[in-house]
């Protein structure tokens, strides 16, 4: 009887163990058509700053703004031989105290041809992402601007023809990849890229040289003024990475308004650059720090002049400020910024739990936004994120004059 019980216990243990760690790889056979995506619900409450310029420009009469957003993102890929069709679409419904809006769009829809492992040609709408910066990418010449408050947010692409020619070598120079791009702009196609009726040429040359990623980027004259730049990224140790970007833009037109309401347009070359690092401490805290010099940004006194006009109480000056307002209400409109993010992996032995805090500061007027965040990914195919934001700054400073003063946001994302 004792033997039988021992034998039964052994059998049960082996069975439990086998069940615990089984792997049937045939469940993951490749299929010609694959799809996936996620459904996301986001609920936000923003405490508005009634004294701020942007609040006044937007003509609001609210203390708080509650917004609920439902987003469906859908990805699909169909592969046949050397050809694949790639789709990335989204539909979003946003409801707040003021309005209900619906947006449907294809972020990407392109055909990819791969005749050789070292050659790819992509035709259609696609989102190219150039640069090594985490929060900003001054060398991203053919993409929509990144939101430093949500760097992983999917961005809409442009319609273009792009190719990749890749060669690998032994030695100090390990990889060379060349990416030429043709991007047409007309009233119907890529109309928000720049001036219409141009076929814009751009290119990126990538090198992996002495264990350092180096990119040279270029955009020719056309819908935008010509520009060129480079970036780099390198691991210095098993826990430290450094990166940087530098971009030179020719003949950039900058419009500004002075304290008397006079609008001036100045054309000159502009240089932007960024230097940053990512460091993992022994206690699993990841630090990301970036310094960004925005060559097309407004100086502290230019920003002060604009906010002063909005605050002046003079209807004529307010109207002038409102007219030029969109230029001043862009994200990161100043000249010098610091981005600092600290995230702690799985504190208190809670796996898949990542608290973090992000600081974005305008170094000229000393205003800043501070964003603590709690992220939990412990439930398969579900991400839960709680995020708060505080914006702080003196009168007429960038973050002190934003519409929001504080914000609380809860996000749930289900993957399928």
């Amino acid at each position: 009887m004792r033997r039988a019980l021992t034998l039964l216990a052994c059998v049960l243990t082996v069975a439990a163990r086998a069940e615990e760690f089984s792997f049937d790889a045939s469940e993951f056979e490749k299929k010609p058509f694959e799809f996936g995506g996620y459904l996301e619900f986001k609920s936000e409450r923003a405490q508005l700053n009634r004294d701020s310029s942007l609040y006044k420009l937007n003509g609001l009469d609210l203390d708080t703004l509650d917004r609920n957003t439902a987003t469906l993102k859908f990805n699909a890929k169909y592969t046949q031989g050397i050809t694949s069709l790639n789709l990335r679409a989204s539909t979003e419904v946003r409801h707040d105290n003021l309005v209900t809006e619906r947006t449907n769009r294809f972020d990407e829809a392109y055909v990819s041809l791969k005749p050789d492992p070292g050659v790819t040609v992509d035709i259609g709408k696609q989102a190219l992402k150039w640069g090594k910066g985490y929060a900003w990418n001054p060398v991203g010449f053919v993409e929509r601007m990144k939101d430093p408050n949500d760097v992983e947010l999917a961005r809409e692409g442009y319609t273009m023809v792009a190719a990749d020619f890749i060669r690998n070598f032994d030695g100090d120079l390990k990889t060379v990849a060349f990416t030429p791009v043709l991007l047409p702009v007309s009233d119907q196609t890529n109309h928000d890229f720049g001036k219409p009726d141009h076929l814009n040429a751009a290119a990126k040359l990538y090198l992996l040289w002495h264990d350092t990623d180096i990119d040279f980027t270029w955009l020719g004259s056309g819908s935008r003024t010509p520009r060129f730049g480079f970036d780099f990224s390198r691991n210095l140790t098993s826990a430290l990475e450094i990166h940087g970007e530098w971009a030179r833009m020719r003949d950039v037109e900058m419009r500004s308004i002075d304290a008397a309401g006079k609008v001036t347009t100045r054309t000159s070359d502009a240089t932007s650059h960024l230097i940053g690092l990512r460091y993992l401490t022994e206690s699993d805290t990841t630090w990301i720090a970036e310094y960004y010099r925005n060559g097309t940004g407004y100086t502290e006194s230019q920003l002060t002049d604009f906010h002063y006009l909005v605050d002046s109480g003079n209807p004529a000056l307010f109207a002038k400020a409102k007219q030029i307002g969109p230029l001043y209400s862009r994200p990161n409109v100043g000249e010098r910024y610091l981005y600092l993010r600290a995230s702690q992996k799985e504190p208190f032995d809670i796996v898949y739990f990542t608290p973090s805090v992000t600081l974005i500061a305008n170094l000229d007027d000393k205003s800043y936004s501070l964003t603590p965040e709690l992220l939990y990914t412990g439930i398969t195919n579900l991400d839960l994120r709680l995020r708060a934001s505080w914006l702080h700054g003196s009168e007429y400073s960038e973050f002190g004059e934003k519409q929001n003063e504080r914000k609380l946001e809860l996000l749930a994302r289900f993957y399928f």
Partner: protein, 245 residues
């Protein structure tokens, strides 16, 4: 008599030879090749087990070429599907489809959470990263003490116990430069994968830094296969899926 004295002096001066010296470097080379062929593809399931028994699973398709080129594509769960990681020597990158471009990662970070870090998931040949400091013979195992060749390697030192007959690792202890034990890797369940590949199908790990947690890697469909060098480049990270047959 003179000849005998000379021989005795020689043996005293080189005791290792007299004891039948163990060539640790050669053993390590054999361990590398017995674990995997130089160029191959394989499927892996990675399971993170929490103290209460709760599990999170990832499935990866990986291809490797030469001693230091490896790329891995996440096939599951859906939240991670399409993510790809590339390693070329000491360089590592992660590609997230939503972000749309590769970013450099370091060997001590973990793309999956849990006890395995990037160096474990994108492991290249041990001989590429470590030099053998000493080799000892135990009852039915060899004990190799390994030292990292550069400071970019995840673990500064390894103690590797190798099965004498199979020349496959049994247990590996991983240490930081401070001497602290970071984790222990245990290789189990030797299986014949065909094509002359016979190796452990299970790798378990635990760490004093993650008390009561463990992570497990299960191997399947390991096959010899050659790939062009261009597969192992940043520009191809969004297209790793195309390699699957």
């Amino acid at each position: 008599m003179k000849k005998l004295t000379a021989l005795l002096l020689f043996l005293l001066a080189f005791p290792a030879l007299s004891a039948g010296a163990i060539d640790g470097a050669q053993i390590l080379q054999k361990v590398d090749r017995n674990l995997e062929p130089e160029s191959y593809e394989m499927m892996r399931k990675l399971i993170n087990v929490e103290p209460d028994g709760k599990k999170k699973e990832f499935v990866l398709y990986s291809v490797k070429k030469g001693r230091d080129k490896i790329v891995a594509l996440f096939l599951a769960p859906q939240s991670d599907k399409g993510r790809a990681t590339l390693r070329l020597g000491d360089n590592m990158w992660l590609y997230i489809p939503e972000v749309g471009k590769p970013m450099r990662i370091t060997s001590l970070q973990s793309v999956t959470g849990g006890v395995f870090n990037n160096a474990d998931i994108l492991r290249i040949d041990y001989t590429e990263e470590y030099a053998v400091e000493s080799a000892e013979e135990e009852k039915d195992q060899y004990l190799l003490k390994l030292k990292a060749k550069t400071n970019e390697v995840a673990y500064d030192k390894l103690k590797m116990w190798v099965d004498k007959k199979a020349l496959l690792p049994v247990t590996i202890e991983c240490y930081a430069a401070s001497g602290m034990l970071i984790k222990t890797l245990r290789f189990k369940d030797i299986k014949d994968f065909g094509g002359g590949i016979k190796r452990p199908a299970t790798l378990e790990t635990d760490s004093p830094l993650y008390k009561d947690y463990k992570s497990v890697m299960l191997y399947a469909q390991i096959k010899k296969r050659d790939f062009p060098d261009e597969v192992f480049s940043l520009n191809n990270l969004s297209r790793v899926e195309d390699l699957r047959k």
